[in-house]
């Protein structure tokens, strides 16, 4: 293909992305941050909360504006701001081993609390801690509480140690919602709890969730029309953040689904930083978040090798929907409880292994790759066990790379590229070896 054609591909790719869902998402996000920037004037109140186990519909029921510190941190990482924010936090005494999301957030706060769109973020009126497996979240909000001197409410979500949700676990969470979380939300917002309003929002959530699952599952096609990791992080944007339950989210996912369906119809591969992927050579499942400071470079390392991520666990951290779970307007608080209990971060290791094994089979993947996060103590533990177990069960090779969320010092491009290339070549060799063995077997039998 001539370079001119390649360019045309790239332009076409970019055009598709910008014209429709991508553009819409951008507008939604910009509008939300504008609203946050104006909040101190308009009197709207902000609640800081985390992505896993977020109770967005409930917050919206009380007209509260969600702010998600992890999202701000990853955005800072993508915009090249995290290095200085992390330094600022280290100056305050946060050690090198602390989660870099936390340091980036603290640094941002200390540098004027300017959000990803360059506008000021309001102070929180409440810190809503829905605890779903990451123990750092508790420490994070302890720090923020000191900084802002605002109330904190904690929803304690029991860990799925036995890999299932029991009735008592569900009612434990529902009780806390009724007796702790809702009263605090009423107090902070001055709005009375209106269950019908919550039901309406949850109905919207379920619609968007249907479309999101359809989009992610279209990666089962060959070629996959999407990259379910690098592209996937954009697709989960609205539903994992401030928009779950809104009409905007319903519209966004409808639009996205139609676009991806069209790509399937045309037999097109995903759009990468280099334009549309021409040949899908490797299909991999990825566990662990991406690196944000070198996001495009990282993605390009996959795209250059013709590697597509067909499924990832990271796109499930804000909710696992492809196992059939939906928010249910008929059981509003129960389904919110089940949502929190079912987050990826709240699953035990055997459940994660089962999930990744299922992805390997259903998405016909060539291997499982783990991107282990240097500063994440909660989720790096057990990853090698996960890798070995999935390898054993599927017979497919596993790969292991290390980087970080938003600390650019922990992204060693040459080393990661070396490992990735080795991994993809390893898959190829294994594939050739398997084909040869099959051929020989045939010859013997014939």
């Amino acid at each position: 293909m001539s370079s001119k054609n390649q360019q045309a591909y790239g332009q076409e790719g970019a055009a598709v992305q910008k014209d429709s869902s991508q553009l819409r998402q951008k507008q939604m996000i910009a509008a939300h941050y504008d609203r946050l920037a104006e909040a101190e004037k308009t009197g709207e109140k902000a609640v800081y909360t985390f992505v896993p186990g977020n109770l967005t519909e409930l917050m919206l029921t009380f007209d509260l504006l969600p702010v998600l510190p992890e999202i701000n941190a990853l955005q800072s990482g993508m915009r090249g701001k995290s290095r200085s924010y992390i330094s600022a936090a280290e100056k305050l005494g946060h050690s090198e081993d602390v989660c870099t999301y936390v340091k980036c957030d603290v640094g941002m706060l200390k540098s004027g609390n300017v959000g990803p769109t360059g506008k000021h973020l309001p102070d929180p009126s409440l810190l809503l801690l829905s605890y779903t497996g990451c123990f750092t979240f508790m420490k994070w909000f302890e720090i923020l509480k000191q900084e802002y001197d605002c109330p904190v409410v904690m929803l304690h979500v029991p860990y799925q140690a036995d890999g299932k949700i029991t009735d008592s676990m569900r009612s434990y969470v529902v009780d806390q919602l009724k007796t702790k979380v809702i009263p605090v939300l009423e107090e902070v917002s001055g709005v009375k709890y209106d269950e019908d309003r919550l039901k309406g929002l949850l109905a919207n959530s379920a619609k968007a969730e249907d479309d999101l699952v359809a989009v992610l599952e279209m990666a089962k096609n060959k070629p996959s029309p999407i990259d379910a990791y690098f592209g996937g992080v954009y697709y989960i944007g609205p539903i994992f953040t401030a928009f779950r339950g809104t009409e905007d989210a319903v519209e966004y996912y409808k639009l996205l689904r139609a676009e991806v369906e069209e790509r399937v119809r045309l037999g097109k591969g995903p759009i990468t930083p280099e334009g549309e992927m021409k040949e899908e050579k490797f299909r991999v499942v990825v566990e662990g978040p991406p690196n944000w400071t070198s996001f495009r470079k990282f993605w390009k390392m996959f795209a250059d090798e013709g590697a597509v991520v067909v499924a990832s666990s990271y796109t499930k951290v804000g909710g696992v929907y492809d196992n059939g779970f939906r928010h249910d307007p008929e059981r509003p608080l129960e389904s919110l409880a089940e949502y929190c209990l079912g987050c990826y971060t709240n699953l035990n290791l055997p459940s994660r292994v089962d999930m990744l094994e299922r992805y390997m089979d259903e998405y016909q993947a060539d291997g499982l790759l783990i991107n282990s996060i240097k500063s994440c103590n909660s989720f790096s533990a057990g990853q090698l066990m996960i890798l070995r177990e999935v390898e054993k069960r599927t017979g497919k090779p596993g790969g292991f790379i290390e980087s970080d969320l938003v600390d650019p010092r922990y992204f060693s491009a040459a080393n990661i590229k070396n490992r990735l290339e080795s991994y993809f070549q390893m898959i190829e060799q294994k594939r050739m070896g398997d084909a040869k063995a099959a051929e020989e077997k045939e010859e013997v039998q014939g």
Partner: protein, 435 residues
């Protein structure tokens, strides 16, 4: 005669292995990696081809019924003559490169440097005489050490700045190293070597000439190693060094299941299947602590040669526990221990163990150690490192066969060469089918 080649462009050295049509090793070549990777590859391949031609000469002698002892003597002398001629060739290039530099430096540098170079040429035959031992075969090291020694004297005698004399050499040697080699270099050197030998037999002369004039045609090449991205190779001819090391180790020791490679700046733990296909690997990340360079740094700190570390450490009766594998911290720990009166060999023994402990962690994470276990890379030549490894492997994994090849430095290049050979055979097959 057709051949294919595998090139491993490492951080310290560049290696090449040449295979013939049957997939047998014809020759191996090594050179120091330099700023110009393309030249480093060229030199390594040229060296491998020289090695291959010596192999061919031996084949010719054998065909003519020359006995083994005579063959060995004849080839040894021929090679010494060849290396001398090659060295003088390079000295000549050095002189050419130094002339304009000394002219700029002004009087009396042209005369001073000219004198040094002439001195180097005169004593060259001693460097390559019978039974001579050289610490390195790279021209940079050989010429460098002689030049520095003589420059010291000249600086004193002529009351010149020693640093300036050294600076001139440093500038020139970069240019010498990046000098493209001329096509007839082999012919010229072998003729010089032949005329210098005292073996005056027709059989010998004919064998050398026949093997020397054989047309060698390169039909394929595969590159690997850290510098592979910059190799002048198409992407499909580049393989990851992890795959190459796995396959190379498998070719050397077919029973290999686990490979440990400790190179200059990285350590790799690799698991391979019975076909030599890599099934899992781990390597050091972001930090090269515990790699070969660590030993280089320690050697410098102790004012020892790299090759002296192992033997000295082996003398230890009571290894000192060194906690840090961070190269910089280890240097500090080393000085502290010395000041506390610990013996050098005991500290060195502890440092070797520290490196191997780090490798043990990588091995564990890659899936452990399976029988047989092959150790490759420059550090595999260090007996103290091997001793520490043996002990720790036994403690952690029990009795395991440990393979170390004297050619282990060529493992990656051999793997690359085998990939190239497979490609060659495949395209031959395709040609046959289409014909």
């Amino acid at each position: 005669m057709k051949y294919c080649v595998g090139i491993d462009l490492g951080s310290t050295t560049t290696k090449a292995v040449v295979l013939n049509e049957e997939g047998k090793v014809m020759g191996r070549g090594i050179t120091n990696s330099r700023s110009n990777y393309e030249v480093a590859c060229e030199v390594a391949v040229a060296e491998a081809l020289i090695n291959a031609r010596f192999g061919l000469i031996e084949g010719k002698l054998q065909e003519r019924g020359v006995d083994e002892k005579t063959r060995r003597e004849q080839l040894e002398e021929l090679e010494q003559g060849f290396r001398l001629a090659q060295y003088l060739d390079q000295c000549n290039i050095l002189r050419e490169e130094m002339e304009p530099l000394t002219a700029v430096a002004g009087e009396p540098f042209p005369e001073a440097v000219g004198g040094i170079l002439t001195g180097m040429e005169k004593e060259a035959s001693e460097l390559f005489g019978k039974g001579s031992r050289r610490k390195s075969d790279f021209f940079r090291d050989l010429a460098g050490s002689r030049y520095l020694a003589m420059a010291e004297q000249v600086a004193k005698d002529m009351e010149l700045s020693y640093d300036q004399l050294v600076g001139l050499f440093d500038k020139a040697i970069l240019r010498v190293e990046n000098h493209p080699s001329d096509a007839d270099a082999f012919g010229r050197c072998i003729r010089a070597a032949l005329s210098a030998t005292h073996f005056d037999s027709e059989v010998f002369r004919e064998s050398v000439e026949e093997a020397g004039s054989l047309e060698l045609e390169q039909v394929g090449s595969v590159g690997t190693g850290y510098g592979r991205q910059t190799l002048p190779f198409p992407k499909e001819d580049i393989r990851s060094e992890i795959l190459c090391h796995g396959l190379g180790a498998h070719a050397m020791f077919p029973g290999t299941r686990t490979v440990l490679d400790i190179g200059g700046q990285d350590t790799k733990a690799i698991q391979v299947d019975p076909q030599g296909i890599v099934t899992s690997f781990q390597m050091n990340d972001r930090c090269a602590a515990g790699c070969g360079r660590y030993l280089g740094y320690i050697a410098d700190e102790m004012n020892l040669g790299l090759h002296e570390l192992g033997p000295l450490a082996c003398k230890s009766k009571r290894s000192v526990k060194i906690n840090s594998t961070c190269t910089v911290f280890a240097g500090a720990e080393l000085r502290e221990r010395l000041s506390l009166g610990e013996k050098r060999e005991d500290i060195l023994s502890g440092l070797h163990r520290a490196i191997i402990l780090r490798a043990m962690s990588l091995l564990a994470r890659s899936g452990g150690v399976e029988n047989e276990f092959t150790f490759t890379g420059g550090v595999a030549k260090n007996e103290a490192a091997v001793g520490a490894l043996k002990k720790l492997i036994f403690e952690n994994y029990g009795e395991v066969t440990l393979n170390i090849s004297p050619d282990s430095i060529y493992t990656g290049a051999l793997g690359a060469a085998i990939f190239s050979h497979r490609e060659w055979m495949r395209s031959d097959e395709e040609e046959k089918v289409s014909a």
